[in-house]
């Protein structure tokens, strides 16, 4: 039942325990914490005292029940509700379904009805819920740092008109409602200007399209139809606007059921291996500036022109193979967002040349408003000219992320009136006169368009925790509305006097059929333009001096706006497994040339800016190039974000914000001689010849389908056989379509109340993730092959951890689960020693007690919050299994296939993780276990894991070595 919550009460800012609205036991997560002290005293004092339930009883007198005064009809204490809403990132909406326990959102899932989600999510969506409960969120409006009344502020804004020199600086927007409001603002303030700014800039996409087709367009890719995909520095599986959807499409074309199935071939040229690159069949390390040449070269080959580009033999071979394949099969070329317009233009030309347009690519009008409108530079220009009287900044954080050359902080100081609105304080907001707290999306009404243009609804899960306004309300105020109310505005726009339709709309979360049809525009390109495009790039100065910097939004904290979310900070990044910070990623050759290794701090200079970062060496990285992650080194944000990593924004040149070539900015990298240990969750990336994650290429697989035969099947044992009648739960994971995006890691953390241990905790190997992704790479001459292996409790039938536990804290359930009972655990840690997969985690300290009150509201009440000194691990989301069981028992039926979905499976964009009962023939999970390429990790130990893996099959071009 997903419908609009009625009568949700405001959560207090303070300790929820004091909140009369929440009976104990629903507002507090179940936990041993509060009683631990008692237990300790008793047991320590009275020696052998405390038989199990003792502590609870010690507490009984203090526990109170406070029922609601009036029970909202749809709300039953203890029964969670789900609501459809959307999260917007730089203008693009992803549909979500959010679970709420007693009116507090606890978990984010994807909305199956939403084209950009199809039920899946990425790590940012999963973690976004934590921002809602951020204890450091501002409590109200400020004027020059002094609290002031939000209503009064909005009213005064609404009354002043017209404002001369009124400028807005917003993230890209796609909200239809927003578009109307902007018009209304313009109507009321004729001189008002709107500038769009995001540190992760997508203008070049639209410029590229305009150059070829005469107007900005949004390419709509069909990865599920393409036989050959060439990615020009495009991480379309993890780092692009529509990645969640594209991952599913891509996976559908790669998922082999039989050796005979056809799969697409993926060419990737990029400076640093990305999740997409780690799945590539032909990966080519190339510096960002080289990409254009590669594109031009491919185009030249396709058009049969003499190739006059100066390419290294290796690049030569790669482009030749790519061009040949593109011509042969149904091809698709994707250019990365950070590449300049030319590359996008070239990509369009290639797609046109191979007839991809209309088959694997179509175009729509951009979902975002005014895609090529004024940006930060225009604003800066105007400020310098003194034309800006009032500057309204919403969310955007230019003081932190603008290139050093711009010196935006100084410019900002020159604006007389500055208003900033954001969910949490950031570098820019602290320098503005007025601060208006922005409502978190889980507390706001609104609408937005998905990447394909589908209109998606945003509805609140909870009344705003603190005094705050939404962007539409803010704009409405400038448009003259004194008491703006987004809900009302939405009703006016969508209800059409039909409450039922409105109800259904909210339940579905999307306006069906609101996506524009894709079309193929005619190419409008003058011969001169074309010539300029295909012309070879002027050879740039080579030599060790000329090193190039490639900037990439962090996979964890994006452009820095999520730096306050501890889950993301502690999420190991897909390729390097670095948490809590960023590094200068170098190729082995470059590192050697510089005489540095992992953890050596280097000083990076570009123009006037200097940054010091520890080095991390990544095989498969392009030489004479360093990849730097954006989004770290915040200095005036929330405590979690501040001082983590180093801020590399100042190094970005104005012209090409995505990369800096030595020629442009005189980039230098020199060792400092100091070391600073990165917090990594994985230190060894090779398999040391152990057959842990087998891989094969398509030919070998077809020749010998059961090449993993030696890695499955039971081995002889004296012990009795274990599979009996009751449902038997199991999981299969297809390493072939796992890009390592880590959405599952965060999803697991959110579902199971997994604590965060901080950088030092990680350095001391004490991270708590129940689900980690082991990444192994094999260095095959000039190419590096990656394989991601999500590693979680394998729920072995002959579990080594069980028979060493002296107190039955971990033992086996009749339905095949390896159960972990926290409140029985005494912490001998023998189970961890004896777990060959090392998936067990131990609470070395009290990680959950210091959790601030608001954050506790996120806890999943169906999962015990673990105390200090107990072991914990993946439970196959047993809470979900058992509640499904209870549902079935009540209805006196069996559990249906697909009824139980684990958190990791639900989040996984590619559907690599499948879970279910072995009895349910025909389900994806069971089918996979029958495939020839399945295997059990560490099979020869005969632990009989219930988690089966499918070997990674790659599809390399035979003509490429």
């Amino acid at each position: 039942m997903t419908h609009r919550p009625r009568d949700l009460r405001v959560l207090p800012a303070g300790d929820p325990a004091e909140d009369p609205e929440f009976p104990p036991g629903v507002d507090e997560p179940p936990s041993e914490l509060d009683r631990r002290a008692v237990m300790k005293l008793l047991a320590a004092g009275a020696g052998l005292a405390g038989l199990g339930s003792i502590a609870a009883c010690m507490e009984a007198p203090s526990k109170r029940i406070m029922p609601r005064v009036v029970e909202p009809p749809e709300l039953t204490p203890g029964v969670p509700l789900e609501y459809a809403t959307s999260m917007v990132l730089d203008g693009f909406a992803t549909g979500l379904v959010v679970t709420a326990h007693e009116a507090r959102p606890t978990k984010v899932e994807g909305n199956p009805d939403h084209p950009a989600s199809l039920g899946a999510t990425n790590q940012l969506h999963q973690a976004s819920i934590l921002e809602l409960y951020d204890p450091d969120r501002p409590r109200g409006a400020l004027e020059a740092g002094v609290p002031t009344s939000l209503e009064a502020l909005l009213r005064s804004i609404a009354r002043r008109a017209p404002m001369p020199g009124l400028w807005f600086l917003l993230h890209p927007q796609s909200s239809p409602l927003g578009a109307d409001l902007i018009d209304r603002v313009r109507a009321r303030h004729p001189t008002a200007r709107f500038a769009w700014y995001s540190a992760v800039d997508r203008r070049s996409v639209y410029q590229g399209a305009r150059r070829v087709f005469g107007r900005p367009l949004e390419p709509q890719y069909r990865f599920d139809l393409a036989d050959v995909i060439v990615s020009l520095d495009a991480d379309f599986l993890a780092a692009m606007a529509n990645s969640v959807r594209w991952s599913r499409d891509f996976a559908n074309r790669r998922r082999l059921r039989t050796p005979e199935d056809r799969m697409s071939r993926l060419y990737v040229a990029e400076p640093c291996p990305s999740p997409t690159g780690s799945l590539a069949d032909a990966a080519l390390p190339a510096r960002p500036a080289e990409i254009r040449t590669l594109a031009a070269a491919i185009l030249a080959r396709l058009e049969g022109r003499a190739d006059d580009h100066a390419l290294s033999p290796r690049h030569e071979r790669w482009t030749a193979a790519a061009a040949a394949d593109l011509r042969a099969g149904r091809g698709l070329v994707v250019a990365g967002d950070r590449q300049p317009a030319e590359v996008h233009a070239l990509a369009h030309l290639i797609n046109a040349a191979i007839g991809a347009n209309g088959t694997t690519v179509a175009f729509t009008a951009p979902a975002v408003i005014d895609p090529l409108g004024p940006g930060l530079s225009e604003l800066a220009e105007e400020i310098r000219r003194g034309g800006v009287q009032t500057l309204v900044i919403v969310e955007a954080n230019p003081v932190y992320s603008a290139p050093a050359a711009l010196d935006f902080a100084a410019l900002l100081a020159r604006v007389p009136e500055t208003i900033c609105s954001a969910v949490t304080h950031h570098e820019t907001s602290r320098r503005c006169r007025w601060f208006i707290p922005l409502a978190h999306y889980l507390e706001s009404w609104g609408d937005a368009r998905a990447y394909d243009g589908t209109i998606s609804m945003i509805q609140p899960l909870i009344r705003p925790m603190y005094q705050s306004a939404t962007l539409p309300e803010l704009l409405a105020a400038f448009a003259g509305t004194e008491q703006p109310d987004t809900h009302r505005m939405l009703l006016d726009r969508y209800e059409h006097g039909d409450p039922l339709a409105w109800q259904r709309l909210l339940q579905r979360g999307v306006v069906t059929g609101s996506a524009p049809r894709g079309f193929v525009p005619p190419i409008q390109l003058t011969a001169g333009d074309r010539q300029a495009l295909v012309a070879p790039t002027p050879a740039e100065p080579t030599g060790d001096a000329a090193i190039e910097l490639a900037f990439a939004p962090s996979h964890a904290v994006y452009d820095g706006r999520f730096a306050g979310i501890s889950w993301l900070q502690e999420m190991p990044k897909p390729i390097d497994k670095i948490t809590w910070g960023n590094a200068a990623l170098l190729s082995p050759a470059t590192a050697e040339a510089l005489g540095v290794g992992d953890d050596d701090v280097v000083r990076i200079t570009a123009g006037k800016a200097q940054v010091e970062l520890p080095v991390f060496v990544v095989p498969g990285h392009a030489d004479r190039c360093a990849t730097l992650e954006l989004g770290y080194g915040r200095w005036a944000a929330t405590p979690t974000a501040e001082g983590v990593g180093a801020n590399v924004y100042p190094l970005r040149p104005l012209a090409t914000p995505a990369y800096a070539t030595g020629a442009q900015a005189g980039v230098r990298i020199e060792p400092t001689g100091r070391r600073s240990r990165l917090a990594r969750t994985q230190e060894h990336f090779t398999q040391y010849g152990r057959d842990l994650a087998p891989t094969a290429d398509l030919e070998t697989y077809r020749a010998q389908p059961d090449f993993t035969a030696h890695l499955w099947g039971d081995q002889p044992t004296w012990l009795p056989d274990k599979r009996h009648g009751t449902p038997q739960w199991a999981m299969t994971i297809d390493t072939m379509i796992c890009s390592g995006c880590s959405a599952c890691v965060v999803a697991c953390q959110a579902e199971n109340n997994v604590p965060v241990v901080g950088a030092d905790g990680v350095r001391r190997n004490r991270e708590m993730h129940w689900l980690r992704i082991d990444t192994y790479r094999e260095d095959r001459g000039d190419r590096v092959e990656y394989v991601h292996q999500p590693m979680l409790c394998q729920h072995c039938e002959m579990a080594p951890c069980e028979y060493v536990c002296p107190v039955y804290a971990t033992q086996h359930s009749p339905d095949g689960l390896n159960e972990m009972i926290y409140n029985r655990c005494i912490g001998t840690r023998f189970c961890s020693n004896n777990c060959p997969y090392k998936v067990r985690r131990f609470n070395f300290f009290d990680y959950t007690e210091p959790t601030p009150a608001p954050l506790r509201l996120q806890y999943n009440p169906n999962v015990t919050v673990r105390a200090r000194g107990v072991m914990e691990k993946c439970t196959y989301c047993v809470q979900r299994i058992r509640s499904a069981e209870i549902r079935a028992r009540k209805a006196n039926r069996e559990i249906q296939p697909g009824e139980v979905v684990t958190a990791c499976q639900q989040a996984c964009p590619t559907g690599a993780i499948q879970f279910g009962q072995l009895q349910h023939e025909g389900t994806e999970m069971v089918e996979r276990r029958k495939q020839a390429r399945h295997y059990a990790v560490l099979h020869d130990l005969d632990t009989r894991p219930r988690t089966a893996y499918l070997a990674k099959i790659s599809n390399p071009n035979p003509r490429l070595p």
């Binding site: 020696g47 199990g52 082991d774 039955y808 005494i826 020693n833 609470n843």
Partner: protein, 450 residues
Amino acid sequence: MSSRLLIGRPSDAELGEQLLGTTWRPGGRGWRIAFLITGGLTVLLISLITYTIGTGIGVWGTMIPVAWAFAIINFVWWIGIGHAGTFISAILYLFEQGWRTSINRLAEAMTLFAVLQAAIFPVLHLGRPWFAYWLFPYPSQMEVWPQVKSALPWDAAAVSTYFTVSLLFWYLGLIPDLASLRDHAPTRRRRFIYGLFAFGWNGKATTWRHYRAGYLLLAGLATPLVLSVHSVVSSDFAIALVPGWHSTIFPPYFVAGAIFSGFAMVLTLLIPVRAVFKLHNVITEKHLENCAKLTLVTGLIVAYGYILEWFLAWYSGETAEWYEVWVARPTGPGLVLFYLAMSCNVLVPQLFWWKRARTKVWLLWPLSLLINLGMWSERFMIIVQSLEREYLPSMWGDYLPTWVDLGILLGTLGFFTFLFLLFLRLVPIISLSEMRDMKHEIVHRERGHG
């Protein structure tokens, strides 16, 4: 040989005076200083234990994958040391080795105190020590019971049994001497107190009869214990899958190592005691030499254990196992301790082929210290180095101890010494009644010969 076990033929009275006298002859300033230092270390131990329980064992260096480290190393090491005592007093008693007489009480005391140190750790290293009693089968309202298929309850049973039996055996041997003290200690107060512990012993023949039977059988019962305890301890590792632990050689290999380190510790203690109390006539070079010889023998068994480990690791063909033993230990993190173990446990004992090394204390004593060090390193090698490099390279991790780890180890050393000093001051170091027995036998035999 007997002649070399007792130098001179003191009368019973003289013997009594010499052996009982240690309990009432005033100790000099040296004693006070020694008590001060060891007492201080004991306080350190207690405060660190409090700190650990209060904050969580995160204050140690343990982590995933190395979830067991110093605590378990110390446990195994101390238990091992504990072995020599019962070995001497029980097994040598059954084999009627005369030379055990003058050192068995000291050795047994050492055993008790060593096991006491060891017993701290199994509880302390728990995540929630206050629930340690769940390991015992008490009538619980929860109706869940200990899981006795795990090696840890075996441990609990073995160690507590071993301690209890050693204590009873030691005390039984002590009773006649306590009676002697009750009757001969200088002041009435001392006599009164010693009398409380003497159970009213009066040397009646019938009592002696039961006493002998009891003592003999207790010795008989202690004998299998000596061999079983460390076998059980070794099963903590042997039943596990961890490469480097998963080995059938462990029980004999551990027992040998235990007796090896035990005798080393006996020498470490015996030599100074002998010097301080001028016991050269009752603790002769013969005694030292015999200890050294046993050290050599057990040392050779340990060396054999090492060789077998390497061989099996190669022969098993199991990659992880091979890597563990042949690569990780000699070249991985903590390799220093690996080489320390090898040199101290394999090379050092070889010196005992050489008589001077067995008899000259200035050589024997430092060597015994080296062996103790070597055995500690061996436990580090087995426990920590194995865990550092397990099956999945993705989860390999390097271990580093914290100051708390080191402090606790130091603390146990202090506490051990403290207890041992108390023992030296409070009860006869050498069993008077047994010495008398032996003396009369010797005299008897000599008469028989002459």
